[in-house]
Amino acid sequence: MASSVLTSEYAGATRKRGPRALQGLPFVLPYLPLLIVFGIAPTIYALDLAFTDVGGGWVGFHNFVRTYDDFRFIPAFKHVLAYTSVWLGALMVFVVGLALLLHGRANRVSATFRFLFYMPGALAGSAAVLVWLFMLDPSVSPGSFLLHHVLGADIFAQSIAPGNLPFIFAMIAFWTGAGGWIVVMYGALNTIPHDLEEAARIDGAGPIAIALRLKLPLIRKWIAYMVILSFATGTQLFVEPQIVQTASFGLVPDTWSANQLAYQLAFRYADFNGAAAIAVDLLVIGLAAAVLIVTRGGLFRAED
């Protein structure tokens, strides 16, 4: 092993880190304040508020207990859970099912259908809810027949009866969100090598067998992501119940969902600590989902 005997006067001065130690940092700098101010800081702030009282003093879990005891808390989370279950169920069955159906052959036809399914995604947010307010009003809706027979509703007020709400909100969310997920699932199905399909066909598998035994297991990971992400998003439900509540005047309570309750606590009662406690509850759910995906996922592994 040769040693650097020559020109040692420079050898010592050679730093371990050359001129490229901070490579890339200047490009990231403008983004960092945004990340901190609107990503990290709100999380910390919410935590801070959740564990302190109005004066800023530490109260431990008091806010959490207090909000939990609020008579609206459990119903709000129950509603959200019911909604999320229905929505996830619909996603799992219909999104996967439709993607599998589309993945047969006939590409032009398939592309057209995908576009049609995807289109309502343009109406995300309050616009979608408004459209569905009309759809749920038997007097104008093209689906009045279905409203009458499935929901037993002949007037709008009956459509949005409390028992129907989880399904209605799930349907709205499905209507706007399914298209995007169908595209993703379809893309995932496209990563399955053709050889596998052909081998299965030679082995005697029909299209249904191929779909259920070959394709479905191979996109398990994507279905899992969809479920986890949708679960986290589902618990945050706000827009749909808020708008329906406005249209219904009292029929739907303004604290139907957990986020609505938090909102009311903050703006009606100026109880920011309580609102923060609920926000933290929801945040924990969201974070758990995020960590699950990031740590267990190959989805985000572009590094290695």
Binding site: S4, L6, T7, Y10, K16, G18, P19
Partner: protein, 398 residues
């Protein structure tokens, strides 16, 4: 034009052995220096340290007289041709070649002239308006060269520029690159894993292994006087045959005993210190010949059994076994692993060597031997190589 000097240069990535270990190498101004070695030997890392694309952990790199350790690539007056060519996909051939000049704020008319000159030298004139994706591999390679020569740098750096081309094209481009370099007189450092490229192109060749420089010399010297087992086995194809031999005294001087064969060696007195010991004897396939054809009778003969005959037209490669032991050293084991020869790996790992070694000889095409024959092989005594089995170093005369 400038020289390039490595003084004790080391590159390590944290724990584990360094990628380049204490490299001392001086490259003369205008020289075509080839860095060659198996993958992982550190040749590309060394090149990238000259380019400024890798930080230098320890030691000093000079271009000319300047120490360039802390200079960014753009300050070093170098040009580089990458293995993947690294052409800018969104620019035309003309713009690709002109790119460095534009960055250096060379006046527009000068850019035009220089690009045209480079295009002429490299036969790229018909393609100037095209984008890289519509070019063939060879054309892309020439564009990459064009981008390098148009800068008139002090040093050309080339990182396996021909390895993505097919064989015929490679041979053609080898000559073209060498011609361009010698016309321009620019110092060039050329990295390759192909020892044929190294031998045909280099003014001098530096053989590297595991981060360490093994030997640097003009090609013929590497071939004739390899300094250790690794260089001996790496240079030359088919590789040098390596056998265990015992040195014994005999009337005229010393003899090498291989199994049941005995080679009497005259004027090899410098082997005397190894009397009674086992050494590694290396014989290049080209120094073996069918005795029936070789004619001369000077007593250096091996007798063996032909296993395989590969006729190449210009010569015949004959694989034959003799009753001697294959030499086994760590180098050989690793060479075998590098090459991926499981059979040999298994054999060598075993420890006890069977007393039967397979040699390869390059015989004249007139040889008549076929598989199954017993053959007498003439050995060119002057071309025998001896190595110390422990250090791997060549045992030399004066």
């Amino acid at each position: 034009m400038a020289s390039v000097t490595f003084e004790g240069v080391t590159k390590s990535y944290g724990e584990g052995p360094p990628a380049v270990d204490g490299l001392d190498l001086g490259i003369v101004d205008g020289e075509f220096m080839v860095l060659v070695g198996p993958s992982g030997c550190g040749k590309t890392t060394a090149l990238r340290m000259v380019a400024g694309l890798e930080d230098i952990t320890d030691g000093v790199v000079r271009i000319g007289d300047r120490v360039v350790n802390d200079l960014t690539p753009k300050r070093r007056d170098i040009a580089m041709v990458f293995q993947s060519y690294a052409l800018y996909p969104h620019l035309s051939v003309r713009d690709n070649i002109a790119f460095p000049l534009k960055i250096a704020k060379v006046p527009k008319d000068q850019i035009r002239t220089r690009v045209d000159d480079a295009a002429r030298i490299l036969d790229l004139e018909p393609y100037l308006k095209r984008k890289p994706r519509s070019l063939s591999g060879g054309q892309r390679q020439r564009v990459a060269m064009g981008r390098a020569i148009v800068r008139q740098p002090a040093v050309f750096l080339m990182d396996e520029p021909l390895s993505n081309l097919d064989a015929k094209l490679r041979v053609q481009m080898r000559a073209d690159i060498k011609k361009i370099q010698s016309n321009l007189g620019v110092t060039a450092i050329y990295v390759t894993h192909d020892q044929v490229e190294a031998m045909t192109m280099g003014d001098r060749v530096a053989v590297m292994r595991k981060g360490e420089l093994q030997q640097v010399a003009p090609p013929q010297e590497l071939y004739d006087r390899p300094v250790n087992l690794f260089v001996a086995g790496f240079i030359g194809s088919p590789a040098m045959n390596m056998l265990e031999a015992r040195v014994e005294r005999h009337a005229g001087g010393v003899a090498a005993v291989l199994g049941d064969a005995r080679l009497d060696l005259d004027d090899h007195a410098w082997l005397a210190p190894y009397e009674g010991r086992t050494v590694v004897l290396g014989i290049r396939p080209e120094d073996l010949e069918d005795a029936a054809i070789a004619g001369r009778d000077d007593g250096a003969r091996l007798r063996g059994q032909v296993e395989l005959r590969e006729a190449l037209g210009s010569e015949v490669l004959v694989h034959f076994t003799i009753a001697a032991r294959q030499a086994v050293t760590e180098d050989m084991r690793e060479l075998a692993e590098d090459v991926g020869d499981d059979r040999i790996v298994g054999q060598l790992a075993g420890g006890e060597q069977p007393a039967s070694a397979t040699l390869v000889g390059r015989f004249s095409p007139r040889t008549r031997v076929v598989e199954g024959d017993t053959v007498e092989v003439a050995v060119d005594q002057q071309a025998l190589h001896f190595f110390d089995p422990e250090t791997g170093l060549a045992i030399r005369g004066a």
